[in-house]
């Protein structure tokens, strides 16, 4: 039996209008395709790694996946609650760790009862000791990230989008996060994992999607895609500076239209 499809992109475009050098009030502005004609579908429980160089459209894609941003054209179907692991969003420096957990829970629309249910887990996972009763302004940046990650991870959505979130805290905490991610993976969640660390993607994901210049280059098993992506990056690195520039300009020109 085929598995249920939970995420489907059909001919998705995301277009931004660009400001010209001279400000123009009338007439067509230049358009920039952050994403162009993206098509893919993902079944329930898949672990998908999204690869691509800087500015290729990964973050735009993750924002659309998370329901924060919307495509200019095309259809996006998402079945179930999705959440982007956003570590720093909605934290208030004046409030204590506990209050921040409650506030972020409220921002995400959890009921008081639900918040009280998860709060113990969050406190235990964050390992902040007595600092949980201190205002967040007294936290080190690592502690802040730990608290943010712990809150996000406790929400238990069906579809998770992890955008470079695991580069937080020290090695020990990163390992703990990774362990938690594996736990979620095994519990049958659909996870999108966006990272520049190819080895992490290979280790964690089963499938891969590679986006380059706003277009879908490749979709397949993680090793296939990661190999092709790695090869591309190596080739790019081997080019001389001028050739690199040329190639970038070419991609850029392909994405902008009059």
């Amino acid at each position: 039996m085929a598995k249920e499809i939970v995420v489907a992109f059909e001919h998705v475009d995301k277009v931004y209008t660009l400001q010209d050098k001279k400000k123009r009030w009338f007439g067509e502005r230049k358009k920039f395709y952050a994403l162009r004609d993206i098509n893919f579908s993902i079944t329930k429980g898949s672990i998908v790694g999204i690869l691509g160089t800087n500015g290729s459209g990964k973050s735009t894609l993750s924002n659309i996946l998370a329901g924060i941003s919307y495509p200019t054209k095309g259809n996006v179907t998402i079945v179930g609650e999705q959440a982007l692991i956003a570590i720093k969003a909605g934290m208030n420096d004046q409030l204590t760790g506990i209050e921040n957990i409650k506030m972020k829970g409220a921002l995400l629309g959890l009921s008081k009862k639900h918040i009280n249910e998860i709060i113990e887990d969050v406190i235990a996972f964050a390992e902040l000791g007595d600092f949980i009763y201190q205002p967040v302004k007294k936290y080190s940046s690592g502690m802040k990230s730990r608290l943010g990650f712990s809150i996000s991870i406790a929400l238990d959505p069906e579809i998770l989008i992890v955008d470079e979130a695991l580069s937080v805290g020290d090695k020990a905490f990163a390992a703990k996060c990774m362990e938690k991610m594996f736990e979620l993976r095994d519990s049958g969640k659909t996870i999108f994992f966006i990272s520049h660390s190819i080895s992490q993607v290979r280790e964690f994901c089963e499938q891969g999607i590679w986006i380059e210049g706003g277009e879908l280059r490749m979709q397949g098993t993680v090793n296939e895609v990661a190999d092709a992506y790695e090869k591309y990056v190596e080739e790019y690195k081997a080019l001389s500076k001028e050739e690199q520039k040329k190639q970038k300009a070419k991609i850029m020109a392909g994405r902008t239209t009059k």
Binding site: A83, L84, A86, N92, Q94, L95, K102, L108, G109
Partner: protein, 279 residues
């Protein structure tokens, strides 16, 4: 019509979310200073004192304020009630127009029902207003104004103020996303709105002592929906006016509120997917 239902539903189903957000934001504000909550009482008191000296003692030489029905009320308590309403409505209007923009780091990071943001601003101010009203009531009782059943009408007018400012916030907060000039424009107009509303000067007294030209402005002054709310508070507390005494004004007020709400909902609905790209 679909947009009105959508926004109404989003606000009602997220009512707990609205309250919690305003609660924690108020808490965070109080934490910023050592005296915290006391400032939400001290600050207005200092302003009231200033206005009382300038308007009550110097300009009006201590003469009482006259109600539209001809009741004379001592100036200080009369002004305190009006300005307490202003201290509630004014931040609702100025912060309401910035409601969406101020939360840009949240709406770009998580899926969030944007149309509830104007309401979170208003409910946050409502906490402060209720604290302030309790102080005002205590002061009134000390000065010998005995509470009666009509005072309960204040809750109705409070509700009016909440609906008005939320509806207005819906419109201005969306417009403010197009250009931040909206916020500048509104803050620039606030002082004018304050003097055009019957907060520091009793409309009856001023009109009685003015020429025909100023008197002809009376209907214009009454077009200001704040007139209904402010005089409503005073009517309940001082003049013993029941709500039913002003049917035409009541109708007019609610038409304005509903009109703003409909326009605000249409704007919210139309641009709800575009806010992120406007930032």
């Amino acid at each position: 019509m679909k947009s009105v239902w959508f926004v109404l539903k989003e606000n009602l189903t997220n009512f707990n979310r609205i309250l919690s957000i305003s609660k924690y934001e108020t808490l965070a504000d109080y934490r910023e200073s050592r005296l915290g909550v006391l400032w939400s009482v001290f600050n207005p008191l200092i302003q009231i004192f200033t206005y009382w000296i300038a308007f009550g003692l110097i300009m009006r030489k201590g003469s009482p304020a006259t109600s539209p029905t001809g009741v004379g009320i001592s100036y200080l308590p009369w002004m305190v009630v009006g300005i307490t309403v202003w201290f509630f409505v004014s931040p609702c209007i100025t912060k309401g127009c910035n409601a969406i923009y101020a939360k840009r780091n949240i709406i770009t990071k998580m899926k969030f029902p944007i149309s509830i943001l104007p309401a979170t601003v208003v409910f946050k101010e409502l906490f402060n207003h209720i604290v302030m009203m309790l102080v005002v009531v205590a002061l009134l009782v000390v000065r010998g104004h005995m509470p009666n059943m009509l005072w309960l009408q204040v809750f109705y007018y409070m509700f009016c103020a909440v609906c008005l400012t939320i509806s207005l916030g819906m419109v201005t907060s969306v417009l403010n996303m197009f250009t931040r000039d909206v916020k500048k424009l509104i803050s620039a107009c606030m002082r004018m709105l304050m003097y055009l509303s019957p907060i520091l000067w009793p409309i009856t007294d001023v009109l009685a002592n003015s020429n025909a030209l100023v008197r002809s402005l009376e209907p214009v002054i009454k077009l200001n929906p704040l007139y209904y709310v402010i005089e409503g508070y005073r009517g309940s507390i001082f003049y013993h006016d029941p709500v039913t005494m002003h049917p035409a004004q009541t109708l007019y007020f609610w038409c304005v509120v509903i009109g703003l709400y409909v326009v605000g909902s249409i704007l919210m609905y139309k641009f709800k997917h575009k806010f992120i790209d406007m930032l």
